[in-house]
């Protein structure tokens, strides 16, 4: 058929291109989830896990104690490599490194508390002012008034002596931050905080001039606690840009750096995928237009409409839609193009829409089953995909019924019969069938031998340099990863006190609010002694504060204000604002407990007493375990359900089994890829296989529509139509997922490999295996003409 030209054709081609760009934009919108998103677009990690686990994972983002990172500087200026012991290291490098460390600390100080909460810089006392002030203010909660002056010296004399000692120190030439510390804490309670701080960070690296410095590797380390969660990548990026401007090769290791690296790589990959996908789609549209089949472009707008309706329905059910759902769900909906292609190319056959309906039902069988997953992301993906598929199928059907002429397209002029034809005799078709069956064999072997990797950490994208630094640093942390436990409500502080008491009895290290504040009851007892001295019977201050001169009253005003009667109140764990020294352990209404077991036995003991305590690694690793557990019954059940549908459709087992061949050949190519090329096979690959399941049944059903008997299809039109639709469908599927192969992030790369190989294998099974087997079976049954007549 000669291609049409003219303004109308060009306009319609333009509409098709525009629709393609819209679909591509929808894909890109998924990547926008990482950059900045409206409220209905979710980009949290909580969606990967059931609620009870996602809360604990979210804790890693919410609690500031997890916002510590490490700045690392190699004296020689960075570069890959581990220990550099040996060789001559001049003192100049070390002096230069120390100067750069001081320069970095100056930058950290200038950044201010909006960016930096705390740092390991040795001379920056100002960062502790708030903590020391609150610590000194809350002294009456932790100790009785009699505790101020033990022994024969009563508290007024003790308090006066402490103030005099603070004034004596203040008479020296001191930094203003030290002066403020003396004003807020004349009793010197901040020494208790020093001890707590020493217990918190166990880094086995010696200090030089107050900085961590490893002689063996000539590395300087500065711990830095950022003042915002790791998800705020833009702020992390701005901070690192400022650090880079110092001119020294500082590198950051920690949750913010890791999150930025992963988000950055996903964004770059999705940009690459979107660009490549849109380019391929545009090229396909152009090819369709040039070949005179521009009407196929009219199949794209319904996909876009269906995706939009899918978003609305998903947001209505789930409250929001995740960026990953948007990215991959649109791909699933796009598979519905197969139905439109068969309808457009084989519109003359009355069996077309029955085949399409069966394809939809077999796909929906899997999607509806996966909707029962306890993983919110999978549930959401299935809601979105099922809605979109149903809508686009309905739109295609209606449009084909109401406007059949809009989509009618001539199939490719494939050479089927005669010497060298697709159906010609000889070893050609036989070899193709053998290869298809070989792929089926490979898939069966793959079911037995291939086990998906469940290691979530391999999906943490890291540069080799970051991985090396991370391993070097964490080998020097003296503590094992902690167990996390959350509590909330009015009893949170008492629960923490109970945990602390249990931990001390079993010699297990723990970090929670009770380390710093006693239970509500004990606070009350402590406060009672202070109120007796400082509160008058009728309320208000009793004026029993030691008689102080103007200098002392003014100098110690920050401390004295905490002794006013109105200030002597207990701290409630339900308060919205926690004291500065507890801010790391408090978020919203929740309080964090970190257990630090030193052995597996201690871990087991903690879990036996507090079953809700769990490590971050376990939380993160739960996702693939839950997925594996659910797929163990969901996958066979979906397969069985779809097969039963095929049995009902074909009225017998044999044709149903033949229609399954593309599914197995697709799996077989994936298995071969894993064995022959060492391609990774992970739980992400399993998610990809769910999508392969969807379109492989479609291909199998379509392929069984190829008439086996020439008499029923004299000009081989139906065969050409089905083969053309299969080819276009495979081309659009493969070109849609091929760009994922360009990705560097392991999640997207694994998905791309599975989908690309699965699509290729499915197509080969559909055109090499199914028609030959179906033909052979039908010839045996002698029902070729009846099948076509129906």
């Amino acid at each position: 058929m000669r291609p049409r030209t003219g303004i109308v054709s060009a306009a319609l081609a333009g509409i098709g291109l525009g629709a393609a760009l819209w679909v591509g934009a929808a894909l890109w919108a998924g990547s926008a989830a990482w950059a900045g998103a409206p409220a209905w677009l979710d980009r949290s990690q909580a969606i990967f896990l059931p609620r009870e686990l996602s809360e604990k994972l979210a804790a890693q983002q919410r609690f500031p104690i997890f916002w510590w990172n490490f700045l690392i500087l190699d004296e020689a200026g960075g570069g890959a490599g581990g220990d550099r012991s040996g060789g001559d290291r001049s003192g100049g490098d070390k002096a230069d490194g120390l100067a750069r460390a001081r320069q970095a600390c100056e930058y950290l100080r200038e950044e201010g508390q909006g960016v930096i909460a705390r740092s390991g810089c040795p001379e920056n006392l100002a960062q502790f002012e708030g903590i020391v002030r609150d610590w000194a203010r809350d002294y009456p909660l932790r100790s009785t008034l009699e505790g101020v002056g033990r022994g024969p010296r009563r508290w007024p004399a003790r308090l006066k002596a402490a103030m005099d000692a603070a004034l004596a120190r203040a008479s020296l030439p001191l930094d203003r931050s030290m002066i403020e510390l003396l004003r807020a804490d004349p009793l010197g309670r901040f020494h208790e905080l020093e001890e707590h701080a020493r217990r918190r960070l166990h880094l086995r690296i010696p200090r030089v001039a107050g900085f961590y410095h490893d002689e063996a590797t000539h590395r300087w380390v500065i711990p830095v606690q950022l003042a915002f969660p790791p998800t705020e990548g833009a702020r992390t990026r701005a901070f690192l840009r400022g650090l880079e401007a110092l001119g020294a090769p500082w590198e950051m290791v920690g949750p913010h750096a890791s999150t930025l690296a992963n988000e950055g790589q996903v964004t770059r990959d999705l940009d690459r995928v979107s660009l490549a996908g849109m380019t391929l789609t545009a090229l396909l549209c152009l090819a369709a237009a040039i070949s005179g089949r521009w009407r196929l472009l009219l199949l794209l707008p319904p996909v876009g409409v269906a995706a939009g309706i899918g978003v609305l329905v998903t947001v209505a059910f789930c409250g929001s839609i995740h960026g990953l759902t948007l990215s991959f769900g649109v791909g699933i909906i796009g598979l519905a193009i197969d139905y439109g292609l068969l309808g457009a190319l084989n519109s003359g056959s009355s069996r077309t829409w029955r085949a399409n309906l069966m394809g939809l039902l077999t796909t929906l069988a899997g999607l509806l089953l996966l909707m029962r997953s306890s993983i919110p992301l999978l549930r959401q993906m299935m809601i979105f995909s099922a809605t979109g598929l149903g809508v686009v199928f309905a739109l295609f059907y209606l449009l084909h019924r109401l406007r059949p002429g809009w989509f009618r397209v001539e199939p490719l002029s494939l050479r089927l019969e005669g010497p060298g034809g697709w159906e010609s005799g000889g070893w050609g078709p036989g070899l193709r069938l053998a290869l298809a069956l070989g792929l089926v064999g490979a898939s069966l072997a793959g079911f037995v031998t291939l086990r998906p990797s469940l290691d979530m950490m391999r999906f943490n994208f890291q540069s080799p340099r970051a991985a090396e630094l991370g391993q070097w640093l964490f080998a020097r942390l003296e503590r094992r990863p902690p167990l996390i436990q959350l509590s909330s409500g009015a009893g949170a502080l008492d629960a923490a006190a109970s945990q602390l008491d249990w931990a001390r009895r079993h010699s297990i290290a723990v970090e929670n609010a009770a380390v710093y504040l006693p239970s509500i009851a004990e606070q009350g007892r402590n406060l009672a002694s202070w109120r007796r001295a400082f509160c008058a019977r009728g309320g208000g201050d009793s004026g029993l504060l030691p008689r102080l001169d103007a200098t002392r009253r003014e100098f110690f005003q920050p401390f004295l204000s905490s002794l006013h009667c109105a200030s002597l109140q207990p701290f409630s764990p339900e308060s919205k604002v926690a004291p500065a020294y507890l801010s790391d352990l408090h978020s919203g209404r929740q309080w964090l407990t970190l257990w630090f077991p030193e052995s597996d036995e201690q871990s087991a003991l903690i879990r036996s007493r507090f079953p809700e305590a769990v490590s971050l690694k376990e939380i993160v690793g739960a996702f693939p375990l839950i997925l594996e557990r659910e797929l163990r019954w969901m996958a066979p059940t979906a397969f069985l359900l779809a097969t039963l549908l095929l049995f009902a459709y074909y009225g017998g087992a044999v044709m149903a089994i033949i229609a399954l061949l593309p599914f197995f050949s697709g799996m077989g190519v994936v298995a071969l890829g894993a064995w022959l090329f060492g391609l990774s096979f992970s739980f992400v690959s399993v998610i990809g296989l769910v999508m392969v399941f969807g379109f492989s049944f479609d291909y199998g059903i379509f392929a069984t529509e190829i008439p086996p008997v020439i008499r029923a299809d004299p000009d081989r039109r139906v065969a050409r139509a089905v083969l053309t639709s299969l080819g276009f469908a495979a081309l659009s599927t493969i070109s849609g997922f091929a760009p994922l192969l360009l990705c560097r992030h392991p999640v997207l790369r694994d998905l791309g490999q599975t989908l690309f190989l699965g699509a290729a294998g499915t197509y080969l099974g559909a055109i090499w295996g199914v028609p030959a087997l179906a033909r052979a079976w039908r010839r045996r049954e002698g029902r070729a003409g009846e099948a076509d007549a129906k």
């Binding site: 006392l125 002596a161 005099d164 000692a165 008479s171 030439p173 001191l174 203003r176 001039a209 200098t551």
Partner: protein
């Protein structure tokens, strides 16, 4: 106009005179010769620290002991016992009494990044009055009889300015230190006493 010119010239001379006459390291060394010649010096002091922005005035008393070449002890007796000893490259700090007594020791090298500790070490080192060390870091001006003003040559010093007055017999009489934190120390010294054999 003629009168205005002379008034302006007189004013300029007055201002210039207020800034003092620059003196060299050698001249300063000559003025400090008597003080530097005492091997073991003990002298009482009375200090007032002004924290202008807070309106706070802290008064303290104590004794300075200087044991050449490099041991300086700054002992505060009022408002509370506090001892700071600079001995070579080490700083020893004691405060409080009885069960409240606390001791700290650190080296000046480890404290290079600590502005406060640098200021403390700087003040103690000042009491040695080493003309060479002073001249290398400060511009020296004589602003009055036996009175010298020291202006730091770099902006990173712990002090923004220092004024020193010697007694007629060449001992320390008064020292005024302007800190970078805008606090001011005014230290008045008594008559020096010969040191006893024991510490």
């Amino acid at each position: 106009m003629f009168i205005a010119f002379w008034v302006g010239w007189a004013l300029a001379c007055f201002c210039a005179a207020g800034q003092g006459k620059p003196i060299s390291e050698q001249e300063l060394a000559a003025r400090l010769k008597h003080y530097r010649g005492i091997p073991d010096l003990r002298v009482g002091f009375r200090q007032i620290k002004w924290m202008g922005d807070m309106g706070i005035r802290i008064e303290s008393r104590g004794e300075l002991r200087l044991q050449r070449p490099d041991k300086v002890t700054w002992r505060v007796t009022k408002p509370s016992p506090l001892l700071v000893r600079l001995d070579g490259g080490h700083i020893h700090l004691e405060e409080g009494e009885g069960s409240d007594r606390r001791v700290e020791d650190f080296s000046t090298g480890a404290l290079q990044g600590d502005r406060g500790a640098r200021a403390l070490a700087g003040m103690i080192a000042w009491l040695e009055l080493d003309a060479h060390a002073i001249a290398s870091r400060y511009e020296i001006r004589e602003v009055g009889p036996r009175t010298f003003r020291f202006i730091p040559r770099s902006g990173t010093d712990a002090f923004t300015g220092l004024e020193l007055r010697l007694s007629p017999d060449g001992n320390l009489d008064r020292m005024v230190i302007d800190e970078a934190s805008r606090d001011r120390l005014e230290i008045d010294f008594g008559r020096p006493r010969p040191a006893r054999a024991s510490n």
